[in-house]
């Protein structure tokens, strides 16, 4: 049923914050927002690289050869490192670690943050005070040092690292969730549910969280960017899983072998992916901001 348009409808549309008017509608709007679209495209490209690495990369991840420290050439588009491994292939394989780290950390952080943030928002009072102070405390911890120490202590296993990083990132999601829950609790449809006798859990999961999750998702995109950078930093410092190549390791190679500038191209991909997540996050924010679709007439 096509929606009738009166001027009142026009005004009221701006009230429905973050409402989901359909996937097709969102796609159409995204196309207008070039930056956001670019971000999504970049992320999708890297996802393809990560998944298809064995098929896309010309050489193996750890395939050594006698062509040591060769500059870019026809056989090796981005040259080779100190034991003859193809840089381009290693960068492509490196995206596996970056993408999985990015998504994994963001997901964990989202789950933890939303879960813990719902309680203070919903129950308020003393619970709110206690939880909020707890969030503040965790935020005070210098996260990178904690990560380095924890990784040094518990090992460089990739799952472990993801967990540790997520444990430092979740409070921002919790704070956002808390505010969203606080606000949405006062909405008439939530009150109507309460008046109908609906239980707390159902109200939270069916009414409040779905309507309030949007800013958390936008934040998650930024956290993915952050996670990718942290992972690269860890691997640069040699604190990453030695079984999988990571961009940080490749960049370190450029430090060790000062003339092999082509090894620092991993830094370029790092930058592009980080920007990609940032722009995608902007895109999500844009999609979720209520606005009239004003086309210049």
């Amino acid at each position: 049923m096509r929606k009738m348009i009166t001027t009142k409808t026009v005004k009221q549309e701006t009230k429905t914050i973050g409402s989901w008017h359909g996937f097709a509608d969102s796609l159409r709007r995204l196309v207008h927002f070039r930056l956001g679209l670019t971000g999504f495209v970049i992320v999708i490209c890297f996802a393809i690289l990560a998944i298809g690495a064995p098929y896309i990369a010309p050489y193996g991840e750890n395939q050594q050869s006698y062509a040591i420290l060769q500059p870019p050439s026809h056989e090796h588009w981005l040259g080779t490192d100190s034991i003859g491994r193809d840089t381009l292939s290693r960068i492509i394989y490196g995206s596996q670690v970056s993408m999985s780290f990015g998504f994994g950390v963001a997901l964990l952080s989202l789950a933890l943050g939303v879960f813990l943030g719902s309680f203070p928002g919903y129950f308020g009072g003393l619970i709110d005070d206690i939880f909020s102070r707890f969030f503040d405390m965790v935020l005070m911890i210098p996260s990178f040092f904690l990560i380095v120490v924890a990784v040094a202590l518990f090992g460089t296993n990739i799952q472990m690292s993801m967990l540790i990083v997520a444990l430092t990132l979740w409070p921002s999601n919790a704070r956002i969730t808390r505010v969203q829950v606080l606000t949405l609790k006062t909405r008439a449809y939530v009150q109507a549910s309460i008046v109908s006798g609906t239980g707390h859990v159902r109200i939270l999961f069916k009414h409040i969280l779905p309507n309030g999750i949007s800013p958390v998702i936008a934040n998650s995109a930024l956290q993915m960017a952050n996670a990718v950078l942290i992972e690269a930093s860890l691997s640069f410092l040699g604190l990453s899983d030695p079984n999988h190549v990571s961009w940080g390791t490749i960049i370190y190679g450029a430090v060790q072998n000062f003339n092999a500038w082509w090894l620092s191209m991993a830094g370029v991909t790092l930058m592009i992916l980080t920007l990609g997540f940032n722009f995608a996050g902007d895109g999500i924010s844009y999609l979720l901001t209520p606005r009239l679709d004003v086309t210049k007439g």
Binding site: M1, M4, A188, S196
Partner: protein, 250 residues
Amino acid sequence: MSDESQSSTGMITAVDALSFKLNEGETLGLVGQSGSGKTTVGKLILRLERPSEGRILFEGHDVLQYKGKQLKDFRSKVQMIFQDPYESLDPRLSLRNSLEEPLIVHGIRSKNEQIARMDDVLTRVGLIPPQRYLQLRPHQLSGGQRQRAAIARSLILRPKLVVADEPVSMLDVSVSAEILNLMLELRQSMNIAYLFITHNLAHAGYFCDRICVMNQGRIVEEGPAEKILRSPEGAYTRRLISSIPLYLHK
């Protein structure tokens, strides 16, 4: 059945030593300007807020003592219609989902029974054919239709009392009149008592059997609707009435 409350709340006294009674099938108007405490009274009755003192007796029992199953039971008998039709339905859910919820919560799980009730209630509020409206989401409906849907939801558990908090204030006048008439009709056919909360004395005069006029948390005058409007006794009430633009009916 009577419903009596006496309460005051919070650090700001929103409602101050208030008492009134509402009988079965009766419409009582709670009329006041903004800040008079009328909305708070509605919320107290529905246990959306707690008073600092006082009792609320529904069918003879103090609802403030209710917990668990008793509270749930109570919630099936007393419902609310909210002011803002653009907020009273969950924007992500279809009407069907919104209407299903109270039924599921109160154990009515048979699909047939659910559909029967939903059809019944949507037909009563004029959203016909019900099957078509069940699929729709709130943003596909007009303000008046949304308010009808909200009324349908409030009726689906067959309540005895409906608290209507400014149900027509945000609607166009042509639609308001229709909704008020709808609510009166439902009162007849379903034997519902209404607590009609509004700032519009003229609407209250049309809709209600009796009116309580509120000012700053207290009831300053009470009586049959026609009497309050035609021969008010209190000074505040008289001021309110003299402020209503009367030109239309001179």
